[in-house]
Subunit: 191 residues, 2 copies
Amino acid sequence: MEAARRVLEAEGPSALSLRAVAREAGVSPAAPYHHFKDKAELLDAVAHEGWEMLQLAMIEAKARTDRSQHLTALGIAYVCFARDYPALYRVMYDAARDKEALPMDVEDANPENGNAYCMVRDTMIEHGADPSAETHLELATVAAWCGAHGLAEMAGFKQFQHLKDELGGERAFLDAVFRHMGLFPTQAHDC
Amino acid sequence: MEAARRVLEAEGPSALSLRAVAREAGVSPAAPYHHFKDKAELLDAVAHEGWEMLQLAMIEAKARTDRSQHLTALGIAYVCFARDYPALYRVMYDAARDKEALPMDVEDANPENGNAYCMVRDTMIEHGADPSAETHLELATVAAWCGAHGLAEMAGFKQFQHLKDELGGERAFLDAVFRHMGLFPTQAHDC
DNA sequence: TGTACATCAGTGAACGCGCGTTCACTGATGTAC
DNA sequence: TGTACATCAGTGAACGCGCGTTCACTGATGTAC
């Protein structure tokens, strides 16, 4: 798994072959078959681990942030995760495609916390969303998730550099975009 | 190019090989080399055509919609394009990755219209954004684009079916999510 | 304490496959004089 | 009108490559009696 993650971030998602992972792990091409049924199972495992990493990052971001800024903190943590592990991020969504479960719907390793999607929803409630208006609450959660996902993919493009410079850095840029989505309270955060 | 688009939507982006395209076109594997330098050039051409298609869809959406609903109409058109040509949509962004130009920054076939990104920005102005507050305007445009892109990728997941049902269809669902992004005026649209 | 067996993570060689790309060549079409 | 040449889109065979997967196998470790 470690080798897989190394290959992934070093060479990109298209280079993530069973053979490459075995090579990186210093092992014969047949060895992985003692641990995974086939390539798809390895990919799923890598993706799953990725979701757990993301969730952990979100939990930490929430913990070290002022209560009023929780939602933005989650958004920033999300985008920063995608920035730090771009290839893993792609594999996570690729593996989720065609699956029945929501990708962010990973069962949690730490049982005291819900999954990533629920974290966002709960934080919406913290911020004053009405928990009894279920549809409204879900839509707001979906909208926030979409916004973060969209920004995560766009933030990588080079063209926004001048906006980042103008605003005084990437963090400020992310915060400003979130603010313009009208979903998140405003203020800069650690990343 | 037609063969490429057929392969793409029939078999997905990973099946888009030079050989597959040649096969689909009923031609030898070497034939495409008379039209494209290599595989990358073919991919770029396909992606470029995709951006032009998207832009056309957005122009049409704007044309047949009430002025007050232009921005939402663009968003809906964008998401519907991604739904109708999911593989092409992926190739478009994949080709743009690592490029210097903004992906939505396609030079226009109809010179009376700007590019897709400018369409969104101009529509923001139509809706009352202050054109002299440049940074603000750009941020709003980026935020809108991110929101649409995020929704375009999420809308494909099966889990939102119950929300769609509850709201009375996909169009209503998309409209509702856009509304929750706080960027778009509200009301349902043709797709 | 020793023997027999099961489990486990590995080897290395081989399979068939589809891929991108190159090569020398062909036949049809257009153009110059 | 006829001849010579250039251009163009194609052929088909071959190249080397990395891939996923299978196979019979080995050696170390653990366990039962």
